[in-house]
Each structure stands twice: as structure tokens, then as C-alpha cells.
Amino acid sequence: MHGPRLLALARAYLGAEDQAQDCLQEAMIAAYRRIDSLSEPSALFAWLRAIVINCALMRLRKRAQLKEESIEALLPNFDERDCRVEPDLGRLPTPELMLQNAQSRTMVRDAIAALPETYRVVLLLRDIEGHSTREAAQMLGIEQGAAKVRLHRARAALKKLLEPMMKKERE
């Protein structure tokens, strides 16, 4: 069943459930219309996934601007001497172990959804879809340097959002 995975993907980009559902519907209609362009049927999911992402990015572009939200509170902490203040999370279990239950998977998805939009989209394109930073920048129409800064901040913020979960799950 590809539907739930594709909906989760649209939701990750767009945030709002109604927008994600509309995006998926739109993407499936687009896919159906250009089914002839699918050269390798075994690559169906990847093909559908790319169409869903394109539709999501088009919707994001149609919004006047990506919502500019502050990410400052989720960035690393330093003391007055510029030394890092970092919690000790001990030995971290593997991602497979940490994601064994549905609740943990929901927590990770929620943490990604909680990232400010401008940052979340770069993280999704780069880390989840595996595009290069240059490609992600092109897709979003921003400078590569800006994409790198957003990517790093998004990862740092995701880490901070997942700290309570990592703390709970540590060995």
C-alpha cells in the first residue's frame, strides 16, 4: 500500500492535513495522466514519490512566501566563553531499536513536522530524499549557502526536539 506512505510524505512537506490530502490527490491525478513517462514499472514508488514532492513544492511556492518562523530556541547552547552546553545522553541505542514502537515513530515524525517550514523543507529534500544541497537549493530557488545554513539549523533543531526521546531510550 503506497497511499499512507505518500500521504505521510506530503504531510511532512506541507504540515496541514487538508493540504497534504489535496496534494496527494493532485499528485495521483498527475501521475495517472503521465503514466506513459514511467519507463520502469518496478520504480513506481520512487516515481510517485517524486511527483508528490513536486506537487508539494509547487504548493509551497504558491504560498506568498514560506512561513518565516524563528528557529533560535532550537539551536545549540553556548556559555559566555563560547563553550558548548550539551546534555549527556549516554550511549544511544540504534535507530532501529529506538523506532521499534509506533509511538517513537510518531514522535520523530512530529518533531520533523514541528520544524519551521523554511528549515523543514531543506531537511526533507536533502536528508530524506537524498538530493544534494545544490539540488535542494535549486528546487527551492535559494542560494546554496543559504540552503546549507538552513540544513544545519534544521538538523540541530531536530536533534534538540528529539533529545527527550533519546534520553528516555538510552541504554
Binding site: 511532512a12 535507530p95 536528508d127 536533534k159
Partner: protein, 91 residues
């Protein structure tokens, strides 16, 4: 350039280091700092783990999770059938 860098400077180097774009001189400073700073070591460890969790959760099919409502499964099924050469039903 100072022989050592602060944690804040280290932070600014991370993304270029991971992207393979940090010049050699800065790369040496980055590694030297990382070798000596347990806080930054811990930070990078959980930074990577958070990234891995994000990737893993999207790879996860989650068969035990019920499909949400309003997924256009009929449309997806039609596309899947077309790909299998069964052809869409007209009408």
C-alpha cells in the same frame, strides 16, 4: 588563524565539514577540537542520531499502523494496475 577554535566556531564549521567543503586548514582545526572536546563529541553523536532517526522513520513502512482516512487508494491502485500492464478501467 588561532591554533584552537571555540565550540561556537566549531559549530560554524560542521555543515561544511559534513558536505566535504571545509578547506584543509579548517578541517585540521575541526578535528583537533573534536578530539579534545567531549561536549562537541556528544553533540555530533546525537546530531547524527537525530538525522538517522529522521531518515529511518520515512523508510519505515509501518505495516502495523492503520492507513489514514481519505487516501486516494483507488487512484493509486489504478496507477499500480496500469504499471502491471493490467490497464486502467475506462469510464
Amino acid at each position: 588563524m588561532h591554533p584552537m577554535i571555540t565550540c561556537r566556531e566549531f559549530e560554524a564549521f560542521i555543515i561544511d565539514y559534513l558536505e566535504g567543503e571545509l578547506p584543509l586548514s579548517k578541517r585540521l582545526l575541526f578535528k583537533a577540537h573534536l578530539a579534545m572536546c567531549s561536549e562537541c563529541k556528544r553533540y555530533l553523536r546525537s546530531y547524527h542520531r537525530a538525522r538517522e532517526l529522521g531518515i529511518a522513520v520515512f523508510e519505515d513502512v509501518g505495516p502495523q499502523e492503520p492507513p489514514p482516512a481519505d487516501v486516494p487508494e483507488d487512484l493509486i491502485e489504478a496507477i499500480v494496475q496500469t504499471c502491471r500492464g493490467e490497464g486502467p478501467s475506462e469510464g
